[in-house]
Symmetry: D3
């Protein structure tokens, strides 16, 4: 696929991009310039707009679509776009924002269908009713939000995509270990990260809300479960257990869970969450390098640089599903 | 004050005590015996009841009051009661359980009055209404529960006593640092540990409930605030801040707070909580030793053994208020 | 299933057991006694043999089968057997050691077949030849040894049982994430713990060998791979990668891996190893308690005590396969 | 108050400032330039002097007062002064260094008076004589030095200001907890940081001395107490305790105290020190942002960014006392 | 050498020993008994004196010499003496305390001579005068005290023996690395642990003094150097450096040094201290086991159990010098 | 010695240097430039080549020798070379690469002789044969490779130089502690870091190989020992011990040793390794500063900045041997 992620030093660029963020600066000689982060659905790149006018500062704001013309250079080992020309889109361009945003490799409709299937398999009536009610309450955001601001599944619909992957994993694992309770697994997985629809600001240009910063998605979601249970007048030990599963899914206090998993299914959900998140991070880092090379150091993998073997073909996780 | 805490090796004992807990054991030769933890309002002591009958096992259960006769011995450096005789109380004894339980050095009435005074000083209407409503909902338990199972304020009404001490401290500190917001301080202090009325089982023979073990008092109380705000239809940033104060009052993830204090008053409440708890632990440990001696190692003070100076008189914190 | 694991306080016992270990002691009055750890295929229990004769000390040695008669008592909250009578087995008893040893819930033949199937699916000829050669070299021990001295899969054939479970898991996971290389997964899983056949002393009464203590199973196995590759005159990057997978499968230096996983499949093998081990530990701890109870604190799960929910039925992992 | 701390991007600047420090550099084209840190009593700002002459390098040295003319720009998100003109002060300017230095919000005379009052309340004659003698020995520096090079109370007379605040806090706390010994509290607080008059180089342009780097203020002060006690021929357990209070006031080895507090008053002094230091840091960080904003990340508060609530007015700690 | 360290289970014992410490206990049936720690110059052993009389309690106190008759038994895997008879020594026995105390393998005279030689090699007059003066001030204790209460060199004259070993090591190392300053090495080594003569209570039955507990030998010795320098009216950077060497010789804050070594010779002294201490610990632990065995877990070596190789002869460090 | 290490700001430079590494960059205005790291035998320095041509990029590659003409400037406190002219060497220049590379202060012949001497002193035939065979196998690389990429002994022949220093140290220490086994010490020291000849890429422009990154020199060398023992058909406990010594010489898991030293000689080798490495680092850092100054912060010494005393002469470790 062509686009930002496939640019190499020296390439000429001529395409539409979305401005993800803008920072204004001043050169040492006092002239204003803009640092733009530009994105298309394959990735993002930095660009400087030197000697910019007052009008430029107004025009080239975050979330605007622009046509750019320029060349790829290297700055401190990182690719950068040297701008030769930039202009705003107009109607004739007929370009849509959605075509410039990275999003999950499956459609929202397919994910709704998948999740609905698992909800129906929850046999405990309390757990099923609660999960359905919360899915309904946050339906739109749940299927559009990313799973994070960075690190893993930080693309549109990333949250739902991550949940669908975990549900499939859980189904496979439960077949191998029949002592696992699938009601707790499925309801726990669907709800574990749903608090992000309140913790984060939205599906694009995502940042943390005040509630996100002061309470965090775990605390927010434990509250949502408690509140919804009272509204639906549900009662029973399984509701406290479900709150516990959400509360403990980061596993350790220093990772944000004040209680470690004390229920078997809580421990398993933590592990599957970790597995799916790491798989996503590793695949995306390895796609960017050639066989025989190491990736850049990955913050969320303890600064490890992974090696992509020469002799063994790695096909992208996402490609098969993209078509 | 005479009683268990003042016993020395060799003392003869003849008094009423409350059975705090009982464990059944078997000697190496196969005979049953009971290990009793006995308490009066000054402290507790272990005792063994050897060669006990089936009836003894029925009679001498937790929460029963008994008359004992025996002698104090040392076992591995710890005082123990050697029982010569034991019997259940009867009506003629006319002994009340409350006279055998350690409790706060001020009356419940006085504490209700103190806390009410601080509630009235909360000027923000949302914070005042919410604090009053939650105090009312949990009134009885709040004034009877201990603040903990062990370590500090683990006596009847210890929770309210701890809150009153912190409120007085906060009032003093706010006078010295006028930038502090007393509305947040007072409402935060009153609510910070209120979740213990659900986390713990009751005012005596206290243990952890299932909710206490799976969610913890911090998460429980953040939920209670959210729920009550919705019931009262209150809204505003200060309610999220109040939840944050409760959430962060243990200061660090590894101490149970998923978010560290991000509001100045949250940081101060954490510090005052710590100061009052440590003062209580230190005073009680130092009361048990003579000037020129070290206390036993104190678990909650990082295993430190404190020194009680010779030349400097330490009067008990509690004595002045007891009269 | 009746047997040691199902004993309760007060039960009369009359059965054959295997002596797992013996320690000689002396009472405070100078008389010798034996502390025996006795086992059958369901579990183990401590027993004291008081006033034992010189002959008793000779007779009741580790790995001997004895008939015992006694009663279950509680000592410091732990079940203990009070011996009324003990004798060595004789020919008429017709009791076999294998009937008293806990072992994997599937037969060795079935495990050989499973593993052979996965070996055949390894397409890279170097990896397949090497894996076959090492399986052949250590065949007998590999299918009889436990996976550990304690904590998880510490029963006869535990090593192979653990490997089979991981292979099945890997197959499921690779279906969901097609970018995974199954050659590396299958060869890595089969070899990752094979060094235990040198680190440990044998299938029963297992302890650590000198090589186990000074080098450890990870270093031992990396050597075995290097040595076998030279013997078979194999060469190629994938052999270094396979050594790396074994070297890094404990993930962190402080857990015994001098290099962290730097290959995607190495990271996944670490996670599946962890998942299968914890599942085994959790299932066995939860089987010992009733719904609504907490397990004892589990050392290998960071001292957590797990809760077994009331409302949700947990069937044993092993039962379905035992029939 | 106008001055450096209130500058915004684009502001024209024309005022006197003190040069806090200077670093000489060379541009990539080989021309010399100066990086100046300029301060007035409200704050500090960086400025570059490009194309500077040999004379400029001589003139614009640390601790010189200059008149500057320029404009505020942003460089990597940080305010910087772009210099249009700079000159040294002359007599006609009639500007005093003290008017350009940030200092405590109360006068030295008032602080001398406050501390003298607390010295008189020390009843133990050894502690009083020793405290007076050390205050006399280091009088001038004690009332002029900052409490630190950065982080908290890093302004002129910051050391004494911090001590006065702690003494007032200690007085309040001792009223609430009458078991505290005020003699130890007052003498310990006055002396705890006095070693900084040897550890640091002076009241302005403060850096660490060789003794400061090799021994540190805690070790220096414990020595000073021991030495003065011998000069005054004082003797008694309370002198060792006072040395212990100074030694342990950072609480943990990793924070610089080889012994943790083993005396109740030592623990309390540590806590009050911490409370006053954090209050100072938090107030100064919050003053720089508007309600509804977060502060920058604060190094000395574990990199936390604090939130300044919208609805709650925060008045500066210092304003009330400044008048 | 015969004596306590060479006893095996079942041995009959009949010899003089020194009572190192006594603890009084009471049996569960209320009878008093004594737990004695008995020592001779080869080691120590526990013994119980059952059914002891009032006179026994008076007679068998710490530091008394007694003749014992008994037998070695095993209790929880540890050797213990079962007493058949015990009596106090009388004049006819003609037994001296010094013959029952473990002490350094070289005489005090030899150690005085060794250390004097190194003092004369210190060329810097300030360092030499200071070192001589402090050696003179603490002469007697310095050559009699142990280096510690436990772990290493915890025998009579252990402190001086440890210093002599380190001086010899330093001399060898300085020959290989001529950039090392021997003046700092020799004076630093002689003084580094001298504070132990104040930190510890005496050469036998050693415990910590109040100054030891509240200040520690490092702080004590830094004070001693400062004080002596002032008495001798010495001045110069090298005195601060010498204090720094003592202050930093435990290397890390969590090991008791508030400053890490910032001088090359300080770092080397830390390393030689560590090397000599570990060599002493390892030799003594390995002497107690046979070739092919592991030692017990050694607390001061991070709980490691060391292996004594079969094929390689280990001769005791001390034997050559003992003759 | 003149050369790069003795340059000061403002110096004119005109000499031959070796290009250690090159990075290509682009200025903000889009023009290519080269960042060169240049070295001679005394040190290295950065230089920028602005406005470079296509030919320049081809010519000035790593490992090329060039004649440079320029001037020393300061950039962010670090010395940098401003290039006035640069050209490749030609035959007439008659300059050898070896004259521009820093290498050990003794000749390879001398080091071969030293190490051979110690090999002959190994009395155990297995250890001697194995050590000789491995020295022979890796002879050339062993005497040319550095000991590391940075931090200590990162110069040509640094590996052998480090081994010779440790052998001399071990000989001295074994004289003072006769219980040490010199066979284990000498063979262990010679082999401990030999795996670096496979972990690193070569004697100059050194980087890590794939085996180095995935396995590390410790694992590689343990394999080499096992493999050579099998080739030589050697057998015996001492070979496992030798592998253990290599495996454990980094002492702690987090420093790369999966097993801590469990043999006395392993512990001593770890300590001598540490001592020689730190001595090398400290000497080289101190040589760069004047008496009375602190060095830069040293990464491998926990970021400490060391002080070079004024009054005490520090002669370079290397000078005496250089002549």
């Amino acid at each position: 696929m062509s686009g930002i992620s496939s640019f190499n030093e020296g390439d000429k660029v001529n395409q539409f991009v979305l401005i993800k963020s803008v920072t204004k600066g001043t050169t040492s000689t006092g002239k204003p310039f803009l640092t733009l982060i530009l994105q298309d659905r394959t990735g993002e790149i930095d660009a400087k707009l030197w000697d910019c006018s007052e009008q430029d500062i107004v025009d080239y704001a975050a979330d605007k679509i622009v046509k750019i013309h320029g060349e790829i250079t290297l700055y401190r080992g990182k690719k950068q776009l040297r701008l030769h020309a930039i202009r705003l889109t107009n109607e004739q361009d007929n370009i849509k924002k959605s075509s410039l945003i990275m999003s999950a490799p499956v459609s929202i409709e397919d994910m709704v269908e998948s999740i609905t299937k698992y909800v129906f398999e929850i046999k405990n009536p309390n757990l099923q009713r609660l999960t359905r009610a919360l899915l309904k309450k946050h339906h739109e955001a749940f299927f559009e939000f990313p799973a994070a601001v960075r690190n893993h599944h930080e693309f549109m619909s990333g949250l739902a995509y991550h949940v669908v992957s975990m549900l499939k994993l859980a189904e496979s694992v439960a077949k191998l270990y029949p002592s696992l309770d699938t009601d707790l697994l499925y309801s726990g997985i669907i709800l574990h990260d749903m608090g992000k629809v309140i913790e984060l600001s939205g599906p694009t240009a995502t940042s943390y809300t005040l509630e996100g910063k002061l309470l965090g998605h775990i605390t927010i979601m434990v509250n949502e479960i408690g509140d919804m249970a009272r509204q639906l007048e549900l009662d029973g030990e399984e509701l406290v257990i479900l709150q516990h599963i959400v509360l403990s899914h980061h596993s350790k206090p220093e990772w944000g869970s004040p209680k470690p998993p004390l229920i078997k299914e809580a421990e398993i959900i933590h592990m599957l969450d970790n597995l799916d998140a790491k798989m996503n991070m590793m695949d995306r880092a390895l796609e960017k390098v050639k066989p025989g090379e190491f990736t850049e150091r990955l913050f969320a993998l303890d600064q490890r640089a992974l090696y992509r073997p020469k002799t063994i073909s790695i096909s992208s996780q996402m490609q098969p599903e993209r078509n």
